[in-house]
């Protein structure tokens, strides 16, 4: 068993949020069929609008997320999850003023596009749309 401590992980500033990409600090070889990261949105802040080919499954591990996509904004509480489609533009808001929002995300290239590399990092690039 290996453990991964979010509190001891190395977070990098990506615009207004902090991102800890697993592939930058852990070695997995071919063990994981997805890339993974934690990211933290400070109180009152929002992520940069992002859009990427990888579907992304996110679990809120602290705080409450407000996830904005084209159809609107959805509240996602701690322990719950949201699945973004491939190329679905999204912004994650932390609407509280007194606590961070922390999310664990897994992402992968669509299974019908196996020729593309998996585990590339989808967060932090300004959307190209």
């Amino acid at each position: 068993m290996r453990t991964f401590d979010s509190g001891k992980s190395t977070f990098a500033e990506v615009g207004p949020i902090q991102v800890a990409r697993w592939e930058q600090q852990y070695q997995f070889g071919t063990t994981l069929p997805f890339g993974a990261m934690w990211y933290t949105v400070p109180p009152g802040a929002s992520s940069v609008r992002d859009c990427h080919p990888e579907p992304e499954l996110s679990i809120v591990v602290a705080g409450t997320g407000f996830v904005e996509v084209a159809s609107g904004i959805t509240e996602v509480g701690v322990g719950s999850a949201f699945l973004l489609d491939s190329e679905e533009a999204h912004i994650v808001h932390n609407r509280t003023e007194d606590g961070s929002l922390t999310i664990f995300s897994a992402y992968w290239m669509p299974l019908d596009d196996a020729a593309a590399p998996a585990g590339q990092a989808p967060v932090g690039e300004p959307a190209d749309v």
Copy 2:
């Protein structure tokens, strides 16, 4: 975007724990390259010892886990993760007396064994060792 509310999910009793397997209540087609579930260990309880071919990545989303494998017991706090190897026997303990332990897990067949079905449920079967 789809959301998955842990509080509205259907949990089944599996020995002393409650398990909500995603594939039993959501339709994903080939979107996810892994199976997924939440499980909750009541205060003072432990999961049944389990062992399965799927590697399993778990994120603690509420409470504190004490994860027992052959090498010992490791504390895993909320937001942190643990990765169990294929065929690594494990028991998850909730040592608190006043709060549930809730874990999100993803599991998949090893990538070098693609002929085996993915997304089978690894939790709740007594270990066969």
